[in-house]
Symmetry: C2
């Protein structure tokens, strides 16, 4: 059977993956959840038609969301993860013995149930005794928190649908309140390349910059996300991701496939067009000379 999954990165650009076998298609209260086995990317998770992860390259996203903050503050003890129902972030965090609590807030229990069954490589640490799962809206959950966490990781879907609230300025203010004085917030920050995504990058950065004393952006190569050029936000009340990088991170002895401390420093060095996008108040001009 010649079966393909296609994601439209814009109306006029699309990426298609050949499906070996559909595994499950279910609808939760919040979204449609699809899992299939692909020929080249292993198992794939799709929410509302958008590719969330593939077994081939999920390690890039999850390592970059986790080890960057952990290498800046090795004293992180209490962590809040918002979204991340697949378990990938928890898997990476669980490798640090120094962490004592991982609260995970996922709005959609069915995502967790599906990933527990079909993505054991991702969900393998959800049963860690330090993990507490709350099936709630992340926006509501965080509203009551104050000075409680060392690290908040916002592993949201896109800025529409169930994840929409997690891109609002007010949400980032609540995150700031929920963090201790040495707190760090890391968030998925979309891609700078296609115009609609770039606009989300710009808006998100503007919000975070207005709240956190330190608001920086770093990048990674994630081939199955639109454009393959993916950004993350690093915001804190004082810690600088480069100046405060702990040179002893390697002594944790973690086996990473993407992250290393040289790359940590390198990933904050952004292309000029991305810097312009982040620093500009006017709507983004897409890269390229052909428009100028």
């Amino acid at each position: 059977m010649d079966l393909w999954f296609t994601e439209y990165h814009t109306e006029n650009a699309r990426f298609s993956i050949k499906v070996d076998k559909p595994i499950i298609s279910v609808k939760s209260e919040f979204q449609r959840i699809d899992v299939f086995d692909s020929c080249d990317f292993g198992r794939v998770l799709v929410l509302d038609g958008y590719l969330m992860l593939t077994e081939k390259d999920e390690f890039i996203y999850h390592e970059m969301m986790t080890h960057v903050p952990m290498a800046v503050n090795p004293d992180i003890r209490d962590v809040l993860v918002i979204g991340a129902g697949d378990g990938g972030i928890i898997r990476e965090l669980a490798s640090y013995d120094s962490i004592r609590r991982m609260d995970m807030v996922e709005i959609d229990k069915l995502v967790v149930d599906v990933c527990r069954e079909y993505f054991p490589h991702l969900s393998c640490k959800l049963a860690d005794p330090r993990v507490h799962i709350y099936y709630e809206d992340g926006y509501k959950f965080i509203s009551s928190k104050n000075n409680e966490y060392d690290l908040i990781i916002v592993d949201s879907t896109d800025p529409f649908g169930p994840g929409e609230n997690l891109f609002k300025e007010d949400f980032y203010r609540k995150c700031c309140n929920a963090l201790k004085a040495s707190g760090i917030m890391v968030n998925q920050h979309e891609s700078p390349y296609y115009p609609d995504d770039a606009l989300a990058v710009q808006k998100t950065h503007k919000h975070i910059k207005s709240i956190f004393p330190i608001a920086m952006v770093y990048q990674a190569h994630i081939p199955t996300y639109p454009s393959g050029h993916f950004l993350f936000g690093f915001a804190s009340k004082g810690l600088d991701p480069i100046a405060d990088l702990n040179p002893g991170w390697a002594s944790f002895g973690l086996n990473t496939r993407y992250y290393n401390t040289d790359l940590h420093k390198g990933c904050f060095a952004l292309p000029n067009y991305v810097k312009e996008l982040l620093n500009s108040d006017i709507p983004v001009i897409p890269p390229g000379r052909y428009k100028t």
Copy 2:
């Protein structure tokens, strides 16, 4: 009309771009040449069915091939460019007044003619009096050269078809001979992500490493190339791309949209899986946990 150009990144993964208008399709002695206007990427050049460049993101490739070596040795005077019939590399080089000679060797005159007509933003500096174009096989051209160039840029197509010779060990040896003692060679080094491309990365690096005392690899985000994760080789007889980076590069006053000197340092920091690929003698294991 609903017209799409599709490139297969593997047999089981493909990227498609909506075509606004086909511009020209011709066949040279060496390859088929197609030009079309796309809805999202401006004008696009395709050789033998493979996407060579789009107006939207060609600046990334051309800046990274040119400014990285130029920032390491600002005394570069004599440059050889192999391939690069579209003129993009020459456009970037021509902004340095310090360069006195640019020899360009392109096997296919029709590529140059097509780009002169349909890609004026790329070919705009081919008439610079310092440029000498040779319509010859790059492999043959370089065989007679000795101690002549400060910089060689190998802007080849892929390791099959007309560009095949430009990936052979013997070719890199000839490049080494053609370089002066402070010489640098930069080459397009394919992508590390899909298995066939990764194999080419590994082979190419092995060849270059066996010939040049310094052989390093750097990366960029080029969204319209397979996986978006693209590599370049930096090889030299002694100059180190980081230690010898000229801190005064910014004084050239060039208006770059991707390259900057922070990014120069950052782009040599490779993910672990790419380092493993480059340092391994056994055939590549594609990234991802699902195979292990």
